[in-house]
C-alpha cells in the first residue's frame, strides 16, 4: 500500500537527542546535508540535488525542487543514505541543539504536515520536503515563522526537531489556542494559523509577549516547542562575556561583582 520505504527507528537521549534508523537492504533515508551522526558499514551516502523524492522528474523537476529549497534558506542538496549491504544496517541523525525529536508518521497524519523551516531532520526516502508559503501578510510578518515554512508530504516516517520540550495538541473543531510567536513547530493543514493583537497597549509594551499572539484554530493537530532556538540564542548572546555579560553565575552584586573581580 505505502510507496515509501518503511523504516524502524529508535530515539536516544533525553534533551540532546539523536535518532537511529534501521534500514533493510536497499532501503534508504533522506536527511538534510550535515545531519548525519554515524552510519554502519554497508550504508552508502549519496548527495542529490533537491529532496530526492521524485527520481523520474528529470532535470527541470529537480532544479525546481532545489530552487524551492534555496528559498527556504537551506542547502541545495540533500543526502540519501542507502543500505547496500547484507542485513539490517543503522544510520543515526543528531539534533543540533537541545530539544526533542518528533517522529511523524505522515500517513497517519493525513499525508501532509507543515512545519517550521529548519525543523526537518530526516525521513524515509520518498517523503517530499517542499515549501509552504504563508499567504497572509500579517502572519508572515508577525506570526513568528516568517513567510516560508516547510511542507512534508508522503506516507512514511519523517523526523522533526524542535527546541526544548515538545507539546503535541489535538484541537477539536473550532477550538482555539493562543501561542507565543515562535513556539509553533508544526501543524496539520486543516488548522487555521493567524495572528491576534495582544489587546492592550500596556500588555503590548510591557507584557513581554510582543505585539501579537499566534492563534491556532482547530480541527487538527499542532506541535509546540517550549524553547525556540532563537530565544535560547538570545539568552546565550546576552550573557556572553565578550558582549559585557557576566561570567559568574547569579551574583547579586552584578556590575559591582565585576569591579571586585578585577575587571
Amino acid at each position: 500500500m505505502t510507496q515509501m520505504h518503511v523504516i524502524d527507528y529508535q530515539i536516544f537521549g533525553t534533551e540532546m537527542q539523536y535518532v537511529e534508523i534501521e534500514l533493510d537492504p536497499q532501503e534508504a533515508a533522506v536527511a538534510e546535508a550535515g545531519g548525519m551522526m554515524y552510519m554502519e558499514d554497508g550504508i552508502a551516502m549519496e548527495t542529490v540535488f533537491g529532496d530526492g523524492s521524485q527520481q523520474k522528474s528529470g532535470f527541470m523537476g529537480s532544479l525546481m525542487g532545489a530552487g524551492k529549497r534555496l528559498l527556504t534558506g537551506e542547502s541545495l542538496f540533500m543526502t540519501i543514505f542507502l543500505n547496500q549491504g547484507q542485513g539490517k544496517k543503522r544510520v543515526a541523525f543528531a539534533a543540533s541543539y537541545p530539544g526533542k525529536i518528533v517522529p511523524l508518521h505522515l500517513q497517519e497524519l493525513g499525508g501532509q504536515i507543515i512545519c517550521q523551516k529548519d525543523s526537518f531532520l530526516c525521513a524515509a526516502k520518498g517523503v517530499s520536503v517542499g515549501i509552504a508559503f504563508q499567504k497572509k501578510l500579517g502572519v508572515g510578518l508577525f506570526g513568528g515563522e516568517g513567510f516560508i515554512m516547510q511542507k512534508l508530504e508522503g506516507d512514511g516516517y519523517a523526523f522533526m526537531h524542535a527546541g526544548g520540550t515538545l507539546s503535541e495538541k489535538v484541537l477539536a473543531p473550532g477550538e482555539l489556542i493562543r501561542v507565543d510567536t515562535g513556539c509553533l513547530v508544526a501543524l496539520q493543514p486543516s488548522v487555521s494559523y493567524d495572528i491576534e493583537y495582544v489587546g492592550k497597549i500596556k500588555s503590548a509594551l510591557f507584557g513581554g509577549e510582543g505585539l501579537f499572539f499566534a492563534t491556532l484554530r482547530g480541527p487538527g493537530k499542532v506541535w509546540l516547542q517550549s524553547l525556540p532556538l532563537s530565544r535560547l540564542a538570545n539568552r546565550i548572546y546576552a550573557v556572553m562575556p565578550a558582549r559585557g555579560g557576566s561570567s559568574e553565575e547569579g551574583s547579586l552584586l552584578g556590575g559591582l561583582g565585576n569591579v571586585l573581580g578585577g575587571r
Binding site: 509552504a132 501543524l187 493543514p189 486543516s190 494559523y193 480541527p219 487538527g220
Partner: protein, 372 residues
C-alpha cells in the same frame, strides 16, 4: 444532487480527519458511511445548524461546523473542484450561508495569484531589468552620445585610428589617395567634422568610418568601381555614418557590452579599447541606420551635383556579382533589395537635378594602384 467528499473532524474522531461522502439534499447534509466508534451510521445535519467559515493553513478551505450532543464537529473542503461544486450547486438554504464564504474564497484565490505574480516579478526582476536595458539601449546610447563634444570625438577618433593604423597598408602616394581626398573634401565641405581620407591596400570591397572623421577606403572598392560617381556614392554614405555618429554609437554600444561582459565575468584583461578597435572593421549599424545613411548621402550627392545613379548602380552591381573578391561592404552593410528600391524611390521623388560628370579618368586611377 451529486455527492462530494470531505474531511470529517470531531473530538471523538482521528485528529487528521476522516474522509467521508456527503450528499447535499434539501433537508440538509447527509453524511454517508461515517464511522464513529466502530459503527457505520448515516447522519443528517440540517442547514440551519451549520456555521460556515473559511480557514486552514492557506485560508482557502471551507469549514462547515455544527454542534451535536455538546460536541462540535466540522467538515472541511480543501479540494478546489469540490469547493467550486459546492459554491455553484449548493441547495438554496446552504447557498445563502455560503455567499459570504464565496466572496472570501475568491478574494483569497485572487490574493494568492497576485502574490505569485509579485514573487515571480521579484525573482525575474534582474532579467526584466536587463531586458529593458537591452531594449532601450539605443535610447541610452543616443543620449550618452549626444553629450560628446565633436572635439572630443575627433580626439578619440585620432586615437582609435592610430591604434588601427599598423594593421592597414595605407597608400599615401599616387593618384588614388589624392582623388579620394578631393571628392571627400567636396562632400564634407559643410559638415561639422574635418574629414581625413585614407586609402588602404586591401582586396576587400569595403570602406569604413571611424568616429571623428577618419574614413578608410580599400583599394578593392576602387577597383570594383567603374566610374568616379560610384565611389562618390559610397563616400557620401560613409560620411553620413560619421555625421550621424553611427560609428560612435556602435562603438559605445560595443564598449558597453564589453564592459558588461567584463563585469559579469570579472575578466578585464581583454582590454576594452583594444577590443573595440579590432572590431571596428566589422562594425554593424543596423538596417535603419544604413537607410538613414543612404538617404542623407543621397541629399549630399544632390548638393554637390553628382549623379545619384552611380551610387545605386554600385550597390546593385555588388549584390549581383559574386566574382571572388570578398565583398565586405555587403556583409557589414546589410544590403537588400528593399534598400535599393527605397533609394530608387527617393531619387524618383526628388526633382531630377542637373549633374556634372566628375572630371576623373577612373581607369587611370585604378591602374595607378599597386597590383598584386
Amino acid at each position: 444532487m451529486k455527492s462530494f467528499s470531505a474531511l470529517y473532524f470531531g473530538p471523538d474522531l482521528p485528529a487528521q480527519g476522516t474522509k467521508i461522502t456527503v450528499l447535499p439534499e434539501n433537508d440538509g447534509l447527509h453524511l454517508q458511511h461515517c464511522e464513529i466508534s466502530g459503527e457505520t451510521q448515516e447522519q443528517l445535519v440540517a442547514y440551519d445548524e451549520l456555521r460556515v467559515s473559511t480557514g486552514g493553513f492557506d485560508h482557502d478551505q471551507i469549514i462547515l461546523m455544527w454542534d451535536k450532543n455538546e460536541k462540535t464537529r466540522s467538515l472541511i473542503l480543501a479540494d478546489k473542484t469540490t469547493q467550486d461544486f459546492l459554491l455553484e450547486e449548493a441547495p438554496p438554504a446552504l447557498a445563502a450561508k455560503l455567499a459570504q464564504c464565496k466572496k472570501h474564497i475568491n478574494g483569497t484565490r485572487q490574493r494568492m495569484r497576485a502574490g505569485w505574480l509579485v514573487l515571480a516579478l521579484f525573482l525575474l526582476s534582474p532579467f526584466i531589468l536587463l531586458g529593458v536595458l537591452v531594449w532601450k539601449s539605443d535610447n541610452v546610447i543616443d543620449w550618452a552620445v549626444s553629450h560628446v563634444l565633436i572635439e572630443d570625438e575627433q580626439k578619440f577618433g585620432d586615437m582609435v585610428f592610430e591604434q588601427y593604423r599598423p594593421t592597414l597598408k595605407l597608400i599615401t602616394q599616387g593618384e588614388a589617395p589624392r582623388v579620394i581626398e578631393e571628392i571627400g573634401d567636396k562632400l564634407g565641405l559643410d559638415a561639422p567634422y574635418k574629414f581625413k581620407w585614407h586609402v588602404a591596400d586591401n582586396p576587400a570591397v569595403n570602406a569604413f568610418a571611424i568616429p571623428g572623421g577618419h574614413i578608410v577606403v580599400f583599394t578593392g572598392l576602387i577597383k570594383a568601381a567603374q566610374t568616379p560617381e560610384e565611389v562618390t556614392g559610397v563616400l557620401a554614405h560613409e560620411i553620413q555614418h560619421v555625421v550621424q555618429r553611427h560609428s560612435l554609437k556602435a562603438m559605445v554600444h560595443n564598449a558597453g557590452w564589453r564592459a558588461t561582459i567584463a563585469m559579469v565575468t570579472g575578466d578585464w584583461t581583454g582590454g576594452m579599447l583594444g577590443g573595440a578597435v579590432t572590431q571596428l572593421g566589422v562594425l554593424k549599424y543596423g538596417r535603419d541606420k544604413e537607410t538613414e545613411a543612404d538617404m542623407k548621402g543621397l541629399a549630399l550627392l544632390k548638393k554637390i551635383r553628382v549623379d545619384p545613379n552611380g551610387m545605386v548602380q554600385f550597390f546593385e552591381k555588388l549584390s549581383k556579382s559574386g566574382n571572388g573578391a570578398p565583398i565586405e561592404l555587403l556583409s557589414t552593410h546589410p544590403s537588400s533589395t528593399e534598400r535599393m528600391t527605397a533609394l530608387r524611390e527617393a531619387i524618383k521623388q526628388q526633382e531630377p537635378w542637373h549633374s556634372e560628370p566628375l572630371p576623373y579618368d577612373w581607369n587611370a586611377i585604378k591602374s595607378s594602384l599597386p597590383t598584386r
